[in-house]
Amino acid sequence: MADIKLPAGKVEELKEVCKKLGNEGGELINALHAAQELFGYLPAEVQELVANEMNVSVAHVYGVVTFYSFFSMIPKGEHPISICMGTACYVRGAEKVLDEFKRHLDVKVGETTPDGKFSISCLRCVGACGLAPVVTVGDKVYGRVAAEDVKGILEEYK
């Protein structure tokens, strides 16, 4: 089953968190949040681990992971790029900005560049509508982004 070897320290840490949550299925979503925080994403191995610890089936965990958009089964890039596709950003041209990122990086939404540097995802409203369109790279927020700014933003991280 395990193709990836999970770092033992983190495995122990996750088990500890699950114990604190009472190893009870009702707390599954909190456990998954903790797991994603620890591992960065939720590969099959982590899901199996969580299922064991929380006393639910792996199928149930998989069902929950795939239901919520916050949980990801693909590792994010070193610099995760999120484009806000909330309505306010959309009407101020977020789609053009997104197209530009896709074109420059040659990956689709939800994918990571082969070198692992960048990944693109869409957000639904950061809540900074005054700055629309908004793009975040890691923790940094870029406001009032135009398609022609995209190249410059990417340059900062190369």
Binding site: G25, G26, E27, L28, I29, N30, L32, H33, M54, V56, G63, V64, F67, Y68, S69, F70, F71, M85, G86, T87, A88, Y90, V91, R92, K96, D99, E100, R103, L123, R124, C125, V126, G127, A128, C129, G130, L131, A132, V134, V141, G143, A146, A147, E148, V150, K151
Partner: protein
């Protein structure tokens, strides 16, 4: 406690923080120390002021000077001029776009004049991380009053009489909901706060939680006393880290003060609050889905009845209200039902917070009495349409709402009027669109959202919305037929009538309302193969008019794919094969030489 002569309030909302709000706070602190003013001046991080368009906002107290678009570098001047010399920093004041005069106080700004702030009363006034500031503004007095002076029935009667209706979208009378929960006998009951703000473009709940978290905690405790619940749960989006951290601080402070926990105010009443995290699912705004999500399951809805008030979290009676609804409660208890019901329209009482965004000059968070017209909101408060363009539509209610147009501008906004126009109140997103927005594309945008967010449990929503999206996509590609329009309308109605929960029952609203209000635009896509707004890429091309082009080369320099060729001072040419229709050249050309065909 030190007594400060002056306070500098810096907006600590997400929007302003994203534009270096935190650096402003740090720089102000540094400069204040350099001038040895640290015992006289206090810098306070507050919640959102609402005027996001002009952020970051800094307000000086006590003279109420309101500085806009402040940068970290301005800190020195604010301290040396305003505080030391007592002179206002003119260049940082707001300029009234009509009179071109500088306005120094928020109460004189068009943006604030028509607003009444009840739910947002403390946002931008207090430090949300300090419970004393909340208490200083009558915080927890309502809880005290309810616990010591009123029976649960009396308190619920105040809420019923106030006419408060659910601010999350549906508009169910809040007091009635509380009463139903109270009447059900059970060992354990729960109070839930729905902070899963999923409507893209609405951020009022987040702003309230970031700016005034104690108001929500106090209201939940009041609800607990009224309904007989001792446990409160706040279901909040994991995407709101700032709101989460402020809530955690608030809960701990309230526990320390004995305002949450055992035997509150020595009355024997116990109540505590915990946080539960969402994980990004729009459908979890629906109360049965939300409850399933809190139970660690997929957030799928179930048929009502039974309503959560009867059988909710873990099968126990659960009262679910939205953040903004709760934020109104303490004030209603203190000021009385009569006061609250004197504001608003006959069937919609009080105020409503709207997140005004899109192509409007003053983007921000506003709170207006029910019954205010769309025209007042968009033109008086919002300052009209950006770049002098023409107003085309306003979308209310998010993915569940509809697009209203010119003819609806003078209708007083309330729950029933919006429903009658084919839209809805929803959580209060209000997106303004101008002549450049294609209504078919807007409908497609919302359907794209719905398709992604449909939980998949019932067929009409899962399959129907996907088919709607495909048809709209066909229209924007210029491949639609007259028959598609009929089909689009029929299918929309079927989805509305047969879907299991509120998501599917309202998801065709953007389609139906745009078809109703912008029929000619749909027809233009089908009959003439044209997109009147010039937004649908397949139906347009950018062309340079040789006689207007002076050959400045600006367009060829901004073109990301080098599709524009031409020598200096000679008319340029766009290669239609290479052009990706991004519109960069169109926006940059200073001579209006590029047109859309």
């Amino acid at each position: 406690m030190a007594k400060y002569k002056n306070h500098i309030l810096v907006c600590g909302g997400t929007g302003c923080r994203a534009s270096q709000g935190e650096e402003i706070v740090q720089n102000l602190g540094k400069v204040i120390e350099e001038n040895s003013l640290e015992n006289e001046v206090q810098v306070v991080r507050t919640g959102c002021f609402g005027f996001c368009e002009k952020g970051p906002v800094v307000k000086m107290v006590p003279d109420n000077t309101f500085y806009v678009q402040v940068t970290p570098e301005d800190a020195t001047e604010i301290v040396s001029e305003h505080l030391v010399k007592g002179r206002k920093v003119e260049r940082l004041l707001y300029t009234d776009p009509e009179t071109q005069e500088r306005v120094s106080e928020s109460k004189d700004m068009g943006f604030y004049k028509k607003q009444i702030r009840i739910a947002l009363r403390n946002c931008g006034f207090i430090n949300p991380e300090n419970i004393d500031e909340y208490i200083a503004r009558d915080g927890y007095a309502a809880l005290g009053k309810v616990l010591t002076e009123l029976t649960p029935e009396e308190a619920i009667k105040v809420i019923i009489d106030s006419g408060l209706r659910g601010r999350g979208g549906g508009g169910f009378p809040t007091g009635l909901k509380w009463d139903i929960t109270r009447k059900v006998e059970a060992e354990q009951k729960y109070v839930v706060c729905n902070a899963d703000e999923g409507d893209p473009g609405a951020f009022m709940d987040r702003s309230i939680l970031e700016g005034d978290p104690h108001a929500v905690l106090e209201a939940m405790a009041i609800n607990g006393y009224c309904t007989g619940a001792t446990k409160g749960l706040i279901y909040i989006r994991a995407e709101y880290p700032l709101a989460i951290s402020r809530l955690k601080i608030a809960i701990n402070q309230a526990r320390e003060y004995g305002l949450l926990g055992e035997d509150i105010f020595g009355t024997g009443f116990s109540f505590d609050v915990e946080l539960r995290y969402g994980a990004g699912a729009f459908v979890c705004g629906e109360e049965t889905s939300l409850i399933h999500s809190m139970e660690g399951l997929r957030g799928e809805p179930t048929v009502k009845p039974p309503f959560p008030s009867e059988s909710g979290y873990k099968g126990m009676p659960t009262n679910v209200n939205n953040v903004e609804t709760y934020a109104n409660i303490p004030v209603i208890i203190l000021e009385g039902a009569e006061w609250f019901s004197s504001i608003g329209t006959e069937k919609s009482k009080g105020t409503k917070v709207f997140a005004l965004a899109g192509k409007v000059n003053n983007v921000g968070l506003i709170e207006v009495p029910m019954g205010t017209t769309l025209r007042e909101v968009i033109f008086d408060i919002g300052g009209g349409i950006k770049d002098g363009k023409k107003f085309k539509a306003v979308q209310t209610g998010g993915p569940s709402g509809g697009c209203l147009t010119e003819k609806h501008l003078d209708i007083p906004i309330d729950y029933d009027n919006l429903l009658a126009c084919g839209s809805m109140m929803g959580s209060g997103g209000m997106i303004v669109m101008d002549e450049d927005d294609c209504m078919v594309s807007v409908a497609k945008f919302y359907l794209d959202f719905t398709v992604e967010e449909s939980c998949g449990k019932c067929a009409p929503c899962r399959i129907g919305n996907k088919r709607l999206y495909e048809m709209l996509d066909k229209l924007t590609e210029g491949k639609g037929t007259e028959e598609d329009l009929t089909l689009l309308r029929n299918l929309s109605n079927v989805i509305k009538d047969t879907s299991l929960c509120g998501l599917g029952q309202t998801s065709p609203n953007p389609v139906l309302s745009t078809m109703e209000n912008f029929a000619d635009e749909y027809e233009a896509h089908v009959r003439d193969g044209k997109c009147p707004a010039g937004q649908c890429k397949s139906l347009m091309q950018y062309v340079i008019e040789a006689e207007k082009c002076i050959g400045c080369t600006l367009c060829s320099r901004v073109c990301p794919v080098d599709a524009i060729t031409g020598d200096k001072k000679e008319p340029h040419l766009i290669s239609q094969e290479t052009c990706i229709k991004c519109g960069a050249c169109y926006e940059k050309c200073k001579f209006g030489a590029i047109s859309i065909q």
